[in-house]
Subunit: 346 residues, 2 copies
DNA sequence: CTGAAAGCGCTTACAG
DNA sequence: CTGAAAGCGCTTACAG
């Protein structure tokens, strides 16, 4: 059976379909339509289970009530929860979400933004990654009523921006290690995490620790945690066949850190006594490692909150200036990080 | 700037817009349009970066090139990877994905299916959960050109169905435990996993193990792994203040299992010597636990493959009968499960 | 071989 | 206060 249309309501009510449309868009009072007429229209609409056709509405130039989410779903930033966090928030407001895996590919991203445009999407959320030259995209983004870019770095763009500052937690971790008297830090990360690596090692150096070229241990491979763990082990084994010259190791995700924990143990090194280990993302399993794995909490829900706020405030008021929100990550101490210093709190 | 339309192409080519539409829908040859005309239309379309408006196309009754994905994104079935697995597969075929969090709520699900209908979605994928009475939905599902239901149980429905058989792995696990000489199994799970609990304990009993009412340990709480871990610990502590009367414990996810591992250790019990532990979902961190955590692999990519196959084959040929695919889970042996028996292979 | 016309369901000036 | 008309971009009989 065909869904009810504005015409079927009009027929039932003995009105023209334009009157029905006006009422259903809450413009009845503004145009001074009799309140009895309005009540009746709404009642019939409800009785007929009327839902307006978003395709037709969009074609007529009005909102399609949709949000486009462009994210590198396999990315190193554990996008997992994000799709849910955002979908839930937007669907609570009556919007529907398009999910795109932009794969950090500029060409794919461009095409998907065009797709969003053609589909009359009200707002887009775009996860930035270094591969995307944003200047080029900001023009495209401005075609939407609202657009939010989520980035790890501090970009300067004429659109609403959320800086998901992962570096913050690494700096806190470096501070902790300095306070705990560690001297020789290393960081184990997949290629392409330059900003974290530099921030961490830079801060370690600043705090008087001994940092060398060797301190940055790179592993290759994409977002697949299984592969990353294998390659982390392989890299460590290959690079440090005899002595492991560091007293602290931080890893850019918890899986890699857990693999490192095993590797160190097999090598006869104690954590945290000989080498402290810190992960990143604060996955639930951290507390169950032996020893419990210190980590860096991303605060993804805060990012989702900020996305929601930025998008819907702008859909409400298109005159707002470009805004910026910062969501810092946070070091979470656990035993694997070594002695806890008194002035630390989480 | 406005995107190119079929009219702008027609103007450029000196044709009527209907001719352009025909060519662009590859009906040129069928209608015997001059090939030179066709070539020219396509060339202009490309030059103008023409992308057809899916809203208009949908309104005119043709495919909108969209797929609706309804899933309980917080659900106990670790939906995380699924959204990506499916999005990637559909977008490779030129389709765009709507993501809905149906929250296992019948009312929400019903509304979202209606939403899909209004949006002219070509196909829907619906994750079944016990709260959804499917008979009621199968009518709604038949309104779509293609619909796939993914369920843990074996449903009988007149639509394409994927049975993601999680029980299979539990049965294999029970077999393993029997072969390893274990006598007193327990299963730790959130409420609502009755089918797994019954299948596991039933099979244990069949294999001669000693199963009592106590063997099923229930914990409350939703899909949040943090809370589940806390509650698992609380429940174990509360229920077994003195002696833990089992020699094997299987858990319905790896996080719970990792918490149990810690609880047992704190209690002075050795894994696997005193109590074997088995998780579920085969998360990457399993290999890094001490001892390495046996688990049950879900084979989510196989589910995604089956979804892709079922949907697109039906969009190609609507005459196909209702089909059924089974994707069984699989027990993955690791040390926490105790002695490995010779005839086992993974 | 090609174009004029109607229609998909909705919105919004505009005319009464 | 309310209706007839045009338009959003596309598709498809139908008439030449």
């Amino acid at each position: 059976m065909k869904p009810a249309s504005i015409r079927s309501i009009a027929r039932e009510a003995g009105l023209s379909h334009s009157t029905v449309s006006l009422v259903l868009n809450n413009r009845g009072d503004e145009l001074g339509l009799r309140s009895e007429t309005q009540r009746q229209v709404r009642e019939i609409a409800k009785r007929l289970n009327y839902v307006r056709n978003p395709l037709a509405r969009g074609l007529a130039g009005k909102s399609t009530m949709t949000i486009g989410l462009l994210w590198d779903l396999a990315g190193p930033h554990l996008s997992e929860g994000m799709a849910r966090n955002i979908t839930l928030r937007t669907q609570n407001r009556g919007y529907t979400t398009y999910l795109f895996d932009c794969m950090s590919d500029p060409e794919v991203t461009r095409r998907q933004l065009m797709e969003c445009r053609m589909r009359g999407v009200d707002a887009v959320v775009l996860r930035h990654s270094p591969a995307l030259v944003m200047d080029e995209f900001s023009r495209q983004l401005k075609e939407f009523k609202a657009a939010v870019v989520v980035s790890a770095e501090s970009l300067s763009l004429p659109v609403d921006l959320i800086q998901h500052d992962m570096v913050a937690g690494y700096v806190q971790a470096a501070d902790h290690l300095a306070n705990a008297g560690r001297k020789r830090p290393a960081i184990l990360s997949p290629h392409g995490n330059i900003s974290k690596v530099e921030a961490f090692l830079g801060h370690c150096r600043q705090r008087g620790m001994s940092v060398s070229d060797q301190s940055a241990i790179n592993i290759s491979g994409g977002g697949d945690p299984w592969k990353l763990m294998d390659q982390a082990i392989a890299m460590l084994t290959n690079q440090f066949p005899d002595k492991f010259p560091f007293d602290s190791l931080i890893c850019t995700n918890d899986e890699i850190a857990s693999a490192a924990l095993v590797w160190l143990r097999d090598k006869g090194l104690l954590t945290p006594e000989n080498v402290t280990v810190i992960g990143c993302n604060d996955a639930p399993f951290c507390v169950a490692m032996s020893p419990p794995l210190a980590s860096i909490e991303r605060h993804d829900e805060k990012v989702a909150d900020a996305i929601e706020e930025l998008i819907f405030s702008r859909l409400d008021d298109s005159g707002l200036p470009a805004r910026r929100r910062i969501v810092p990550s946070q070091f979470i101490w656990r035993e694997s990080a070594g002695r806890r210093c008194d002035h630390q709190e989480n």
